[in-house]
């Protein structure tokens, strides 16, 4: 089947098998290997991307279901060397160790903050429940999401998708 999908701002048209999973389309056809596969039962959330503005587990979406849609991945968040505030908060709060779950965590956190711009600890823990991490014990992930909420001005949840309006500047790199 022929699909046209916009991924991180670039439009692609491809012939795909009907059974091709979105995550494999991203990784194997588009080379968007920043999004990863951690399981085959949609439990771990490592493959989380945004489809038309909402987080989805791209291992449980067919590529053809994304036809005509817009997909956002972790690779499209930083612009011109400036990290998205959620990325910066993950770095500053040491919210990652091996980093394999991190792309999914960041994408889910952005979605969570769009729904709830100022979540308390409990809301973050429940809002991130579909994303598993084996390294951090979640404590610093929770701290990072709440820190990101503070960095993103009040009511700026939906603006998480509009990076050009973000005032937070954070260089990519060490401290």
């Amino acid at each position: 089947m022929r699909i046209t999908v916009n991924v991180d701002g670039t439009t692609y048209t491809d012939e795909v098998e009907a059974r091709l999973l979105l995550v494999h389309y991203l990784r194997d056809r588009l080379g968007k290997v920043g999004t990863v596969v951690g399981c085959d039962t949609s439990n771990c959330g490592a493959c989380t991307v945004h489809l038309n503005g909402h987080s989805v587990k791209s291992c449980s979406v067919l590529a053809v279901q994304a036809d005509g849609g817009e997909v956002g991945t972790v690779e499209g968040l930083a612009r011109d060397g400036t990290l998205h505030p959620v990325q910066a908060a993950f770095h500053d709060n040491h919210a990652l160790q091996c980093g394999f779950c991190t792309p999914g965590m960041i994408m889910q956190a952005i979605d969570l903050l769009a729904d709830n711009p100022d979540p308390d600890e409990r809301a973050v823990r429940h809002g991130m429940e579909g994303n598993l991490c084996r390294c951090t014990g979640y404590q610093n992930i929770v701290a990072a999401v709440r820190d990101a909420a503070r960095r993103m001005s009040p009511g700026a949840g939906p603006a998480a998708e509009r990076l050009d309006e973000q005032s937070v500047t954070h260089p990519v790199g060490g401290e």
């Binding site: 091709l20 399981c39 490592a46 040491h94 990652l96 790199g173 060490g174």
Partner: protein, 793 residues
């Protein structure tokens, strides 16, 4: 000119590693695509124990995109036997361990056939077309039954299910008294049996391997903790010359011991690439990972503790059954032995015996999982100390205080013969009790008991130590381990004064690039940003013993320090020559060589440039500051800490919720507090998961029923509490930085703290044990029984 630079060690540096990980610019093995690369898929046994009567691959061979199909019979002559590096006894029994089963399968999930195809989807499709005829054999699943007379056998050729029996006896070793006499003479004896359920490391990145056979060397990329050991073992297993193999561990997504392995999948991919003459990739599914990557724990622990009425422990006897699973993997037999020296923990027991019986079953092989032997030991001793306290009606912390090594008694040689160099259990405990509000919670517990509150409160204690920094090579030799425990490092001073640090440690989430940069920045007096840490590739980092056993900082970083000191030594010779003074006239600090008492100085960076130019060097000096060092520790390090858990147990539903968790760890000097806290948090999560959530379960046919993340329940964010972490600092006296290691502490300490809290909450209802994981069902049943569940008095 000599402005004091703030030390890097001790600073909460944000990690260098993060930049690529938070932006998706990662190098996971599965991300690799090489020209001409093909994909392999592995058919896995559905039977736990069967003879392979026939395999029909003819239909699979005709499937679209299929390039090759092979079975164990096809590679029987070339695949060798997977290595076991730890023959714990001279008469240890070990079955041949083919990567691809040849005539029998011994656990469900074992590899039986391989398809190589143009795409991963096509390879998977072809697997469905392979027909295997299994002739079922008796399945051995229960360890206790497996060692009984007349038991069915996992490996009939061995004539027994017992692989080895390993004993340590303090009287025989001359390190203590006779434990049987201690038990016979005791005023009080408490016996308990604890079950360490089978766990799965469940790293987030599934294992993946890419092999490129097209160069002068065969290059393997693998999601491994041990690229150096893997190269050596591939050479020894397959008979390939070692210098013809290069192994690269690129970004590796967690390991926890689960990637401390030479895997069937790596060998299969290697052989497939040789057959194809082109690059191959294999990436496991999560189900395959849960079935076939090695499991952990799985022991039955019988403890007998002898004491006087005043609480003084006079002896401890430990009898273990340890499930090896179907095969002995890299360090399978040695995992319980790593625990043998830790059952006495922080206590001054005068008599001790440990006997471990290693048993084969038709289950996935076990091997190292975070802590490897030490969590099992710590759990058992901390649980039975609570039971002894209950028996004697002594407050459980008071019982521990009565028996532990006092801070003024270090260095202390234990009943196992280990010498603990330093520690201060009193200080860590005092701080933990303060943060926890121990006395306040005890008062609340009493109120709830008296009021008959349906939700009861329990306090769980774990005062633990562990042996880290694996390991002094001579000790490993005395335990029959197949290799040493040293680590290697080299430092390259570039002409511009930048530095490359090459380490034999192989990070997979620990933050070596950041921590090693901090250490070298301080040592050489150069900026943190000017340092690049190189690891995980046998070409760029040619020597190493890799990362496990909380050894990276205590062993690996010591090699880095030693290499840095050699650089400084050489640079000092050059600086003295350039400044026309004697070396003894120079002092080195903040990256500068200064002639004592003057302003005359040169920097280490300028020295590096002068050496590069080599125009004016001392006679006979080679024009390089680059230095290599290998460090072999003289002793283990002994981190310790006090962990306190408050658990609420709903006596009507059995539900456990953790109200608070406080840990005060003493890991010696701290290089990066941020990283240390992260290691502790993650360790706690895994230890708590053992206590409450995780278990690998097999049905009666030997099929793993927890073969997805829907069934093997890793805790999510909502399943864990906020942790309160703090530290005391008693420096290790056995290494230059005073560090002890932190990678496993949280996991080792937390499991007994949680279970002790659960039992403490309902002890007044007649509960003396709850088997792990303490699910609502088990807790509820224990309360109903009003007695013990899983513990035999």
């Amino acid at each position: 000119m000599t402005a004091t630079i703030e030390p890097e060690i001790g600073k909460s540096r944000r990690r260098k590693e993060d930049a690529r990980l938070i932006t998706g610019r990662t190098r996971w093995t599965d991300n690799l695509t090489l020209p001409g690369m093909v994909h392999l898929a592995i058919l896995r046994s559905t039977a736990a124990h069967a003879r392979i009567a026939a395999i029909d691959t003819s239909a699979a061979r005709t499937m679209p995109g299929v390039l090759d199909v092979f079975t164990g019979a096809d590679i029987a002559a070339s695949q060798g036997s997977l290595p076991c590096a730890w023959p714990i006894t001279p008469d240890m029994k070990a079955p041949p361990a083919p990567s691809l089963a040849v005539d029998t399968v011994n656990f469900a999930g074992e590899a039986v056939a391989v398809v190589v195809a143009r795409s991963a989807y096509e390879a998977d499709d072809a697997l469905q077309a392979i027909d295997v005829d299994y002739a079922d054999l008796p399945v051995v699943l229960d360890m206790a039954a497996a060692v009984a007379e007349g038991a069915e056998l996992t490996h009939p050729d061995l004539g027994t299910n017992v692989s080895a029996v390993w004993t340590f006896d303090s009287a025989a070793a001359g390190t203590g008294q006779d434990v049987d006499a201690a038990i016979a003479d005791a005023e009080v004896v408490v016996r308990r049996t604890f079950r360490q359920q089978r766990l799965i490391p469940a790293f987030m990145e599934p294992r993946s391997v890419v092999v490129d056979p097209t160069g002068a060397q065969i290059t393997m990329w693998s999601a491994t903790q041990i690229p150096h050991i893997l190269r050596l073992m591939l050479a020894m297993t397959l008979g390939v010359p070692e210098h013809k193999v290069r192994v690269i561990a690129p970004d590796v997504g967690g390991g926890f011991g689960g990637k401390l392995q030479v895997t069937p999948e790596e060998v299969i991919a290697f052989l497939a690439a040789q057959r194809m003459g082109r690059p191959v990739k294999y990436t496991e599914s999560r189900t395959e990972s849960l079935q076939a990557a090695h499991h952990g724990r799985d022991q039955i622990q019988q403890l007998t503790i002898a004491a006087r009425r005043d609480g003084t422990v006079t002896g401890l006897k430990v009898e273990l059954l340890a499930d090896m699973g179907a095969y002995l993997r890299l360090v399978t037999p040695g995992v319980p032995i790593l625990g043998a020296f830790m059952f006495n923990s922080i206590y001054k027991f005068p008599a001790y015996r440990f006997v471990c019986t290693n048993v084969f079953t038709n289950k996935t092989p076990t091997d190292a999982y975070r802590g490897a032997g030490r969590p099992e030991a710590t759990f058992a001793i901390e649980r039975i100390m609570d039971e002894l306290a209950a028996e004697l009606d002594i407050e459980p912390m008071a019982l521990r205080e009565r028996n532990w090594i006092k801070h003024e008694e270090f260095p202390f040689t234990t009943v196992c013969g280990l010498t603990y160099d330093s520690g201060n259990y009193e200080a860590a405990t005092a701080r933990a009790k303060e943060l926890f509000d121990y006395d306040g919670l005890r008062a609340e517990q009493l109120r709830r008991r008296e009021s008959g509150d349906p939700v009861q409160l329990g306090l769980g204690i774990s005062t633990f130590t562990e042996m880290c920094g694996l390991a002094p090579s001579r000790v490993l030799g005395s335990l029959s381990y197949g290799a040493g425990g040293w680590e290697s490092a080299s430092i390259r001073m570039l002409p511009t004064g930048k530095v490359e640090v090459v380490t034999g440690s192989s990070a997979h989430g620990q933050g070596h690039e950041t921590a090693w940069s901090q250490i070298v920045a301080d040592r050489l007096g150069i900026p943190f940003e000017d340092i690049e840490v190189i690891h995980g590739d046998t070409q760029s980092s040619p020597k190493g013993m890799d990362t496990y056993g909380s050894r990276s900082l205590t062993v690996g970083a010591m090699a880095v320090v030693a290499a840095a000191d050699k650089v400084i030594g050489k640079a000092k010779m050059v600086a003295a020559h350039l400044l026309e003074c004697a070396e003894d006239d120079l002092e080195f600090g903040n990256g500068r060589f200064t002639v004592k008492g003057t302003d005359t100085a040169t920097t280490i960076q300028d020295t590096a440039l002068a050496v590069f130019a080599a125009h004016n060097l001392p006679d006979g000096m080679e024009p390089t500051l680059d230095s290599e060092a290998t460090y072999d520790p003289e002793n283990f390090s002994f981190p310790h800490g006090t962990h306190l858990c408050a658990a609420e147990v709903d006596t009507e539903t059995g539900r456990v919720s953790l109200r608070s968790y406080v840990c005060v760890d003493d890991i010696g000097a701290v290089v990066n507090p941020l990283i240390v806290d992260g290691q502790v948090h993650g360790g706690l999560a895994q230890g708590i998961a053992q206590a409450l959530y995780e278990e690998a379960i097999h049905d009666e046919s030997g099929t793993l029923t927890t073969a997805s993340l829907a069934d093997y329940t890793l805790p999510g964010a909502a399943d864990l509490p906020h942790f309160t972490t703090d530290r005391t600092e008693t420096r290790s006296t056995t290494n230059a930085l005073g560090v002890k290691g932190v990678g496993e502490a949280g996991t080792i300490a937390s499991t007994p703290a949680v279970v002790n809290a659960v039992v403490d909450a309902v002890r007044h209802l007649g509960v003396t044990d709850v088997e792990m994981p303490c699910t609502p069902m088990r807790v509820w049943q224990a309360i109903q029984a009003g007695n013990q569940s899983g513990a035999a008095k």
